[in-house]
Amino acid sequence: MNNNYQIAVDHDGKSIWKFLISELKPKGKFFTLFNIISLPIMLLGLGLIVIRFIYGIGSITNLTQETPWGLWIGFDVVTGVAFAGGAYVLTFMVYILNVHKYHSIVRVTVLNGFLAYVFYAGALLLDLGRPWHVVNPIIGNSFGVSSVLFLVAWHFLLYMIAQLIEFSPAIAEWLGAKRAHKILSGMTIAAVIFGITLSTLHQSGLGALYLMAKDKIHPLWYSEFIPIMFFVSSVFAGLSMVIFEGSISHKVFFSQISEKNHHAQNNIIRGLAKICAGTMFAYFFLKLLVFIHGQNWDLLNTPMGYWFLLEMLGFVFLPMTLFFYSYRTNNTTLIKVAAILTMLGVILNRLNVTVIGFRWDAAVHYIPSWMELVVTLAVIFTEIWIFRWVINRMPVLRDSPSWVNENK
């Protein structure tokens, strides 16, 4: 019983190091429109980050003692994590509920989720006064157990590991490591269950960060139910991001996707629209209940009240009806429009809680500086560059190599 069990695929006799170095070379045209726009911003952002660490956070941001958390936390961390929620929802549907219809998009969504957490946890470092202390919750140099951030730090670390394990079979396929692939594939379901359990708490945990700021957040957005609201909205935020990013990837990486997956695309988007419609219906009523419970209806007739109504009606109720209608009439374009509106609504909601509604009554309102915007964009563009690098090399959108089926 001496099977010729190949540990790794032979890359035409090249060593693994030569293979890795050859993979670093760019594939495709270098001077595309996206590259021309993003590269200067990324370089400028890098410069600004260096300045931030030399001269302190006040040198490039408009943060003050009154508003210590601004765009980087409000948008990069809080909103970015909400959009990464597609990973846990999709893995739940495919691996737990066995809805195999969505199997073809799991890998790309998990990749997106992983990159999102890595980059947005990284963006969190930018806000820390002593960034080297970020390991404290883990190594125990004063854990900080009374802070919600202890939970957030641990969850981010564990979830990144879980997502890496979920994604690692694709890496093993890229490297041709057959034995590793077998072991890692076996760990997938455990990583998925762990990841979903973690997600439920840290999605709501980011909302819990703001529970202590009762007097600082506008009453229409502050309630003891912020964590639950954040968790429920992360479901449709993540799925809308999957629809949005999936549509873009479908066009950009058209050549990689197999014939079968092309045809399945519309059906997948339609199924996701249905789930979004249902979740947003529940979310709308939850928000209504919280609004009634807060007894703040007389605040509706204020500018912030109109802003609240705009968010609720224009960016939750409207996209919900659009999802409902476009699902029934099978109108893919309308589904994508609804997804964009939903994403804008989630951004609006998160920014309202963290930045706009935070200290709305301050004498000097916090407005992010252009440098904060550049750094935020630089973080997002870097993430997209790495995403593109991975997609072009690893079997994420294209089918796995044939030896994968032999392994089973």
Partner: protein, 240 residues
Amino acid sequence: MDGFSYSDIFATKGIEYLVIIAFLALLIPFWIVLNKQSKMTRQIQSTLGVLSAKILRIPQGLFYGKNHTWMYMEKTGAAKVGLDDLLLHLTGKIKFRYLKPPGETINKGDLLAEIDQEGKLLRIFSPVSGKILDTNSLLNDSNGMLNDDPYGKGWIYKIKPSNWIEEANTCYFAEDATNWSAKELERFKDFLARTMKDYTPETAMIIMQDGGELLDHSLSALPDEIWKDFQNEFLNPDQL
């Protein structure tokens, strides 16, 4: 304590209960309308040739054997035997070949006939024992009869049964037959999924649309090996 305010969390209890009831009340029509398959889709499905349980014809008064044959006792005491609609939808247009002549006595599970599609064969075994009275001359002339009217003019044998009550008892009847046919369709989809693994994705596209809907006459596009597997799984006389 500084800045401590006490708000009555039960003040709006009544309204909140009403909102929850309204939510649940609205959820039911919301979900129903969301999931309702529009008449248009159903019509398109049947014209496009999608095979779903809804378009199967299953007369409730017939006895259906597990090998997709049906039998029906007429007032004269003779039983008509035929093939069911699901089998014919799966195979598509076929040629029918009698293997037993009238006058012969057969037992349940004996080979009665063969259906043929361009060399691919399926064997039909008898769901009933008895003496063969007659064959259907219409089937020899126009073979479309079998597919168009499998329960009426497309009957295949007239048999005088020798053990009707016991053998009819092992068959499906009325709603059980309808439920069983729907289950068989699902079982066929699983069977396809299992066998299609070894075949090219192009063949899979001819059989199933991307929603997982089975196209009509799926077996006609598949090779002989799958017909043999189909014979063992679905038309096995040992199941009778």
